[in-house]
Structure formats: C-alpha cells, structure tokens
C-alpha cells in the first residue's frame, strides 16, 4: 500500500515543517504511518506495540534538527531503533577446534534442507570438511534430497534408511564424524508445526542426547503474524543460538525477522537470497531496516548495479561526463545498460523515495520504447551521433525514414537527449549523495513521468528583487547621491 513511508510522513508533517520539538501530538499521525508500514511488512502486532512505545519515549521532546523536517527525523529515529533491535550482527559460526555440531530446525517448507547445503558450502569454503546428516525422517524423499545436495557440493552425507529414530541417526552421525575426524556436522531435522507437541519433544530429545553446539532456527522470510507463535515454541523447546531467514530474494518485506528476533533474542546470522548454494549472505540490519520500513535499500541498489553493469563501460562514460562530453553514442550505450528486463523497476524500487516512480513505470513497456530509441540512434551517421546539433530538417527526415519512425519521434529523442545530457553534465563530478538528491528533485518536479521528457536544465535568470528590496535599493542610491553632492559642495 505504501511504496514509500517517507512520502507518507512528509505529507503528515507538512504543517510542522521546521518547527520546534517532537511532541506526542505532532508525532501521532507519523507514528501511525510507521506502524501501518510495519504491519504491512508483517511485523507482529504485539512486537510493533512494544517497539513503538520505546520509539515514542525516545523521540518525545527531541528538538527537530535545523535541516530536517520532523518526518525525516522520526524516520531516522525509527530506522536507528530498528537497527539496534535487530543487531548486534554476528555472522561468525563459532567453530570449535575438534568438532562442531549444528542443528537446523524450523517449520515445514521454511527452507531447512537448502540452507543446510548453503551452510555446508560456506564452511567448506573455509577449508573444513562437513558431514550432512539426514535427520528428517518425516517427509518422503527428504533423505534423497540431502544426498543430491551432498553430491552437488561434494559433501559427505550420513543417512540410515532403516532407522526410525532421528535421535539415534544423529548420535551415530556424530560418532562417525568423531572417528573420521570431520570437524563439522550439520543436522537436518524434520520440519514441524509449532503446536505439534510430539515432534517438538523429539527435537528437544535430539538436543538433549546429541548436544549440538549451535541450534539455528530457519524462518521463512514471507511469514506473517504467526512468526511470533512458532518462534516462541521453538525457543522454549530448544536453546536457539541463531536465526537464518530465507526467501528474501523476492519482494517480501521480511518483517517476521523483527518478530522472531524480539521473541528469541538470538542473533540473526544469515539471510538466504536465492536458490543457488552461494546465496547465503551475512545479515545486515541497515538494509533490513530500510526494507521493513519500505524505504528501499541503497546498499542493495549499488550491489545490483555493480553486478549488472559493465564496470569498464561505466568508468568510460563517467570519464567523458567529467570532461563535459556526452553525445548520442554515450546515450545509446547508457540505454543499452539499463534496457534489461525488469532491471529498471528493481533499481528504482531500491532507491528511497522513488516508490512512486516505480509504480508509474509498472505499466510501461520500457523495453519496446528502448528498441524504438535504438533504431533512431542507429539510423544516424557517426558524425550526427557525436554532434547532434548538426541534425537539421532534411537529416531528420532521412533518419526517420531509416528507422521506420515519424520525424517527430526523432525530435522527441533529441529533446530527451538534450535534457539528459544537461543532467549528466551537471551530475558529473558530484558525490553520490548529491546525485541522489538531484534524482529526487527531478522526481519531485514530475519530470520522470514516463510520458513526458526531461527538460533542459534552465539557466539562472538572476535574482529578482521584491518591492521592499527595490525601495530599499532606491533609498540607498538616493543617500549615496546626496552624500556625493554634499562632498562636492
């Protein structure tokens, strides 16, 4: 519902801009919006209440800092609090010298088995051998699944298809690891419902008899309000040491992480961001806080950008920009980089305050538009591309014919290019913060409307005087004149 909390807050605090302190009265609307945004991110209701009470307490009476509006300041406070609540970060696995036993548990379908594979790969990358143990005796073919994963990763897998007691399977596996001097054991337990007493008992039996060094709870990133209930059940059956949240590569806001952290109090170790075995990342509270608030995630945006864009190309363009050169050839290269399916939308969604823009882009077939633009640029001569000013009426008609487009389309493109070139030139050499601010300014002007086009940046037309200033100016001139007159007398 809210693409951007920040924008909602800006509206809520409009009347307050630049005024005094945060009070209960002037924060009420803003806090309501924060709360709503968190509910939409699936943070548990009771956890939100608790969290908001603390935030309110802290925010009360704070002076609104000069440059900020109260909305920004409130978001800042909430954001910082979220980071504090979800921290401290501790992605270390605390491997012991001789043997470390990990136990993975979680609800059905939360991604335990896949996460076992990811974890095994991570540990193997540190030069330690791993033994995966198939202790999920409930689901059909769960043992096969782990074996296949073991084969893919080159990790040994222990299973016993005749044994019906998972505790014994785990015990035997640990014995095996000891005798073969394998330093790490990962137990893949069966998924279960939090209210299934029998299976929870089984889990704590494994805990008691096998003594895993670390018990990790695997939580589905899409979980809703129920996250509190299940986390509570697992936490009371076991002494959890860490959390791993999965399926965060989609568009789930992942508010469950806050609920689970709140209930268990154990550190969030990793997040799963894909189906491949290397898609396990250390948890980063800053990114998650932005995601939960619906504010986007700048760091993630840069990561995506770095992954997808041709770095050399970017550097070249950057260099040309700095020299104040930007022609249609660069324009085309630039378009080429961003004209990938869904990429533009994804990037925009990650930029704070760009939520609206993303929505606008949704219905637009950007790729087809891009193809049209490419056609026009390709129909130009190299000279025209490097120096678009020379394109006159007859050249325009020729280009349009070559591209199979209307001459107006060529005009449109050139105007768009003019706007873009101006923008690019003014962006060159500025820091990232300045650039983002500019991008946001552009959005505010409404110039990013996909149907519209970028306007050429306007030159200053000088300062205009107000009436009183003009009068003052006149008076001063008069005074000067008199003084001169007096002196000459």
């Amino acid at each position: 519902m809210f693409e951007s909390l920040q924008e909602g807050l800006q509206a809520a605090f409009k009347s307050l801009r630049g005024k005094g302190k945060l009070t209960e009265a002037n924060m009420r609307e803003g806090l309501r919006l924060v709360e709503q945004s968190m509910l939409e991110a699936d943070v548990s209701y009771s956890v939100i209440q608790d969290f908001m009470a603390r935030v309110t307490q802290e925010a009360l009476g704070q002076k609104v800092l000069g440059a900020l509006d109260p909305g920004q300041q409130l978001v800042g406070i909430v954001h910082q609090h979220l980071i504090n609540v979800m921290g401290p970060v501790d992605p270390s696995l605390n491997l012991k010298g001789d043997l470390t036993v990990f136990m993975m548990c979680g609800l059905q379908g939360s991604g335990k088995t896949t996460t076992c594979g990811k974890l095994a790969r991570l540990i193997q990358g540190q030069g330690k051998k791993v033994l995966l143990v198939a202790a999920d005796l409930q689901r059909p073919a769960a043992i096969d699944q782990l074996h296949v994963i073991g084969e893919q990763l080159g990790v040994e897998v222990y299973s016993d298809r005749n044994e019906k007691d998972p505790v014994k399977v785990c015990q035997k596996a640990v014995q095996l690891a000891r005798s073969q001097h394998l330093p790490v054991v990962i137990l893949d337990t069966a998924g279960r419902l939090a209210i299934d007493q029998e299976l929870m008992q089984q889990l704590s039996n494994i805990d008691r008899h096998v003594h895993p060094d670390q018990a990790y709870l695997v939580v589905d990133g899409m979980t809703g309000q129920d996250a509190v209930e299940s986390a509570r059940a697992f936490n009371s059956a076991l002494e959890l040491d860490g959390l791993i949240m999965t399926k965060l590569d989609g568009d789930a806001r992942g508010g469950a992480v806050l609920s689970v952290k709140h209930v268990t109090g154990v550190p969030i170790k990793f997040i799963g961001t894909g189906e491949r075995f290397d898609a396990l990342e250390p948890f980063r509270p800053e990114g998650m806080a932005g995601r939960i608030l619906g504010m986007g995630d700048i760091v993630e945006m840069f990561r995506t950008a770095q992954e997808t864009f041709d770095q050399d190309q970017m550097r070249q363009t950057e260099e040309r920009l700095r020299q104040g050169e930007f022609n249609l050839e660069d324009f085309r290269k630039h378009l080429d980089q961003i004209a990938r399916p869904g990429l533009l939308q994804k990037m925009l969604g990650l930029i704070p305050g760009m939520g609206d823009l993303k929505k606008m882009m949704d219905g637009v077939d950007a790729e087809r538009d891009m193809k049209g633009l490419f056609g026009i640029i390709d129909a130009m001569t190299p000279r025209e591309r490097r120096n678009p000013q020379i394109i006159d009426q007859s050249r325009r008609i020729r280009i349009a014919k070559g591209a199979g487009a209307e001459p107006q389309a060529v005009n449109e493109l050139l105007k768009q290019f003019d706007g873009m070139a101006g923008l690019m030139k003014s962006m060159a050499g500025k820091g990232m913060g300045d650039r983002l601010k500019m991008a946001q300014d552009i959005q505010k002007q409404g110039l990013f409307d996909p149907g519209g086009r970028l306007a050429k940046p306007k030159q200053s037309t000088g300062k205009r005087l107000t009436n009183s200033e003009r009068e003052q100016h006149a008076r001063q001139l008069e005074r000067e004149r008199r003084r001169k007159k007096r002196r000459s007398d």
């Binding site: 379908g109 059909p140 073919a141 809703g224």
Partner: protein, 342 residues
C-alpha cells in the same frame, strides 16, 4: 452423470444428491468428516480469537471506545488479513456501534457477516471446473516450500476417493529429489506418475503427462511445478510456457490452475497471488498448513483484489487432510458461535 454430481456436491447439498448416489451413506459420513476436520484445523485459530474476544467483554457489554476498537483491530490484524481490510472492518464497526454498549454476540455477528461477504464475493462458490470430455488437467503452482507436492498428493487422494483415475506429472525438475517425493506419494495414493530426470524441461514433462492421460485415458491429470518466487521473471515465463504446452494438447486446459499458498504467509501472499495470476491465470487457491497456529487471513484481501477463491484447505500431514473450502465454515470457525454465546 453420477461422477459429475458427486464432484459438484457441496456440503450443503449433500442430503439431496446423496439419494441418487449409490454410496450415499459413506459420502454423507465423509461430508460430516470434512466439516469436522476443517473445524479441527481451525480450532487453534478459533481458540486464540475467542479467548481474546472474551477478554474484551469481561462484563455483559462494553462501551465501544477508541481503546476497544484498537483491541479489535489487533485481533483482526493477527489473522494476517492485512491493514486494509482490518481497518475497513474497524471503521464499519465504529460507524455501526459508535458510542453504544455492545453485546459480544451482536458485534461478532457483524464482523463475521462482513468477512463472509468478502469471502463469497458476488457469485456463488463454484466447484472445480471439469473438462466436458476427456481428462481434466490441473496445474499446481506456488512459491518454494508452500507445500505444492504434498497438496498434489492430497488432491490426488481426494480424486481417487471419488473413484477417478489420476496421472501425476512430476514437473518439479529443479529441486533435488522432488521427483522422488512425488513418486513416493503416487505409490501411496495409487496414481500413475510421469517423470523426467532432474534438470529437464518442465514443459516437456507436462506435455508427456497430459498425453499419457489422454492415451490411457485418465479422468484427472495433475501437474506439479518447481517452487519459484513470483519476482523471478524468467521462471514465471517458464510457467507460462508449461501452460501453453498443456493447452496445445487440450485447448481449454488447464481447467484449473491452483496456487498453493502457505497459511503462515503474511502480506506477501498478495504479491504471490498477483504474480502467479499474471503468469498462468490462477483459478483458485489451495491454502496449506492451516493446522498450525497460522490463520491464513491473507486470503481475504486476495479474494477481494483478484476475485481468486480458495478451493481447498490443507489441515494436516496425512494424504486425507485436504478438505473443500467453505467460506461459511471458514468464517464460522474463526468466530464460532458455540463458544461466543457464553
């Protein structure tokens, strides 16, 4: 005819149709069982809502004030129905009962009725669409770990119980051992299965499964697919292709495209419904894992926004634990009358 009737029969019409049916006694018993099982599955939910609601009304009636409305709102939100619908119900309750001392029965009846209108929509709840002749094809889709394979097994069992022959298509060629998992289930429920090695094209598996169902012939063909997030454009395109390939063999197939939705899912369920509907035009939802503490309330906004009805509910781990969704039973079980009237 008999098959058709039995299939269409809903719990309410059980009595009338069972007269013509040869095994009327067992069917009637089954219908009862279904209701009981749905209620049993929702018991946890009901218990939670009931205790909390009862806490709201310690005395006979209570003045409807802001604080009270907030508590009601919290209850609604906890079902995962989302801020929008919860807000709406809250506002309507407020307008209806403003400043009054409210009786518990009155208020819950109101909320229940409101939720029921959302869940039923304009048209009456339709049964599974069936092919006029030849095999009926069902395509089952969903995100990773939502319970597709288990739901397919249950669906197959349901169809077997109704006396249909079933072919399964093991279209999850991505996840390790997914094919084995479905094979085990196929043996248990007595269905034929068409498989392909891991990594092969799911569309070709679907094609072969449907072809097999036509050739044999079988009444029902259920196609499994690999779990995928709705944001993965290329994987969603793969699904579209599966759908296209099925339609090549039988023009109006797949007759049903079922989205399996985890009852523990939160607001992302809405995005799932949208993503999968855009790709393969879902016709209904199978709400899985409703036997836990989760409420599955996200189907309420989904129903409202996409007109996507819930068709089945998974209420346990056994092959028999799939029941037809009844909006009335769903809402009744959420705010059950028997305990409310205390």
């Amino acid at each position: 005819m008999g098959i058709f009737d039995r299939f269409r029969r809903s719990a309410t019409s059980a009595a009338t149709t069972s007269v013509t049916s040869p095994d009327s006694a067992t069917v009637a018993a089954e219908q009862k069982g279904i209701f009981a099982r749905l209620k049993q599955g929702l018991q946890k939910t009901t218990r939670l809502l009931q205790t909390d609601v009862r806490d709201l009304f310690k005395s006979q009636g209570q003045l409807l004030d802001e604080d009270f409305l907030n508590q009601l709102f919290a209850l609604l939100v906890r079902t995962d129905m989302g801020v929008g619908p919860a807000q709406e119900v809250r506002t309507e309750v407020q307008e209806h009962f403003r400043g009054r001392v409210v009786e518990m029965e009155e208020l819950l009846g109101f909320v229940r009725a409101k939720l029921l209108t959302i869940m039923t929509g304009d048209e009456a709840e339709e049964p599974l669409r069936r092919a006029a002749s030849g095999p009926t094809v069902m395509l089952v889709v969903g995100v990773n770990g939502s319970g597709k394979t288990t739901s397919i097994a249950k669906l197959a069992q349901l169809m077997r119980n109704e006396g249909h022959s079933v072919v399964l298509g093991a279209g999850d060629t991505f996840r390790a051992a997914a094919v084995q998992q479905l094979t085990v289930w196929a043996e248990r429920v007595g269905a034929e299965i068409v498989t392909a090695p891991t990594g092969s094209d799911p569309a070709s598996v679907a094609h072969r499964a449907v072809a097999r169902a036509i050739e044999k012939p079988c009444d029902i063909c259920i196609i499994d697919t690999a779990g995928r997030l709705q944001t993965q454009t290329n994987l969603m395109e793969e699904l579209t292709k599966v759908r296209r390939v099925i339609a090549k063999l039988i023009p109006d197939a797949p007759h049903e495209v079922l989205l399996v939705l985890d009852a523990t899912a939160g607001q992302n369920g809405i995005s799932q419904a949208k993503g999968f509907s855009d790709a393969v035009q879902c016709t209904g939802i199978v709400l899985s894992k409703l036997d836990g503490t989760a409420k599955g309330g996200v189907v309420i906004p989904i129903r409202r926004q996409f007109e996507l009805p819930v068709k089945f509910v998974g209420v346990g781990e056994g092959a028999d634990d799939l029941v037809r969704f009844e909006p009335q039973a769903f809402v009744d079980a959420l705010f059950s009358e028997t305990t409310v009237g205390l």
